[in-house]
Subunit: 240 residues, 2 copies
DNA sequence: GCGAATTTGTGCGTATGTATT
DNA sequence: TAATACATACGCACAAATTCG
């Protein structure tokens, strides 16, 4: 395998990055396992060590691999690593919330107009939906989720009978998760939401609206959550 | 000037980065102006081109410089660039809020116990305080600000008679701004806050609590804001 | 516990491509 | 068009951390 001969306008180290990212997505390189050594890889791919290393750097920034001096370069296991969850909610003292998830209901069908718009679907493709409640000393977060099923190769909507984690789902279906964008507003609890969260109607809640994108900026999941904030806060880090 | 001879355990490119960062902080390299070319700089500093470039890469990631192929490497002007504001509030349709600031009052004095704790001051050092209201079709955000004056070399608390921007202040006093961390909760408007924001008491508001740190992770500013969310939302991007 | 082998990190030098001025 | 600046790519040597016999 050699890139150098290919006619491509893209920089060689970008091609290296893309190639390895694809290998990871396809499961050729499995989570938790080491890549060949840099010298080996550079040789296999027919590029210089420096070029390979620049590609690996990019993959490291994208959280696809970790490198340990003296040990090796490893495919990151997003499924096992509990940090890959896009969850900004914390307890009042800033600790992670040890919540449990109550799975309320699931379903699937063609995307609604709003789902189609938010998930940037070109047609009313299949969408898996799910309603769940997070508990921690009582219910605190109700979530309604829409998953762009068509973007997870071979995904069976009917199998969605339990809470899932996007990192696990992505890893199982050859999808690389990138970033997410979330907006928060204050909303009053509707009668139904109030019941689920065991609060009075009219209680002010934090309404969270989040879209998770793939590394290629394709929307994967749309989620709207209603959160009672009595024991919880929303925490972010700003990096300019 | 040569680093190579120095006895330092730190990597050479880190020393290059730190040296240039210091030059920028001190104003030797001025915002908006170009650095010497890479070849020149490498020569001046007595390091190889590759080492210099690795240092520049780090500075670019820290938003201290921008590099343009064919043109040059420039010191970023955080004061002129309106993006460096750590502001996650947007209009409902996601646009920047064209607000104006009403400066209510200012003061200064030794840090309170809470300020000392939040700003990680070792003693009750001088703190500049300021109360202001942001307007956009009426008042929407009341902010009470505590600035760690001792961390801005030669800062005169009494000069604080107008709204300031942290980027400007930092640039004027040789401070490099790094990241910020912010937490949001829902709080009811006190009588005083309600008056300032022209809402009914008991109106649910978003309470924002933010600390801005220097590049060296030293707290610079602590700010608590109360925001009415009728025309505004809080937006973040999550990167894992 | 030590040392050898392995692997990534750092540093140098050079040549060429590409965008800007 | 020519000069200049950053970007890409190659190759080599050694340092530092880890692993394993």
């Amino acid at each position: 395998m050699s890139f150098a001969k290919k006619i491509s306008t893209r920089a060689l180290y970008i091609q290296v990055r893309d190639h390895l990212a694809q290998q990871i997505a396809r499961g050729v390189l499995k989570p938790g396992t080491p890549l060949p050594s840099e010298l080996e890889l550079a040789d296999q791919l027919g590029v210089s060590l420096g070029t390979l290393r620049k590609g690996l750097e990019a993959l490291e920034n994208e959280r696809l691999i970790t490198r340990r001096q003296g040990s090796g370069t490893y495919v990151r296991d997003h499924a096992a690593d509990m940090r890959f969850t896009f969850d900004n909610l914390r307890t009042k003292d800033g600790a992670a919330i040890p919540f449990t998830v109550e799975f309320v209901s699931a379903g699937s069908g063609p995307a609604s107009a709003e789902e189609q718009e938010r998930l940037q679907l070109e047609a009313p493709e299949a969408v898996a939906r799910c309603l769940q409640v997070r508990h921690h000393e009582g219910p605190f977060l109700l979530e309604q989720i829409s998953l762009a099923a068509s973007r997870f190769a071979g995904f069976d909507c009917t199998k969605l009978t339990n809470p899932y984690r996007i990192a696990v789902l992505a890893q199982e279906h050859g999808v690389l998760v990138g970033t997410a964008s979330e907006s928060a507003e204050i909303a009053r609890a509707s009668r139904e939401v109030a019941a689920r969260l065991e609060v009075d109607p009219e209680t002010p809640l934090l309404r969270l609206d989040r879209i998770i994108y793939s590394l290629g900026r394709v929307p994967l999941e749309w989620r709207v959550g209603y959160c009672r904030m009595n024991a919880v806060k929303y925490v972010t880090t700003l990096r300019n």
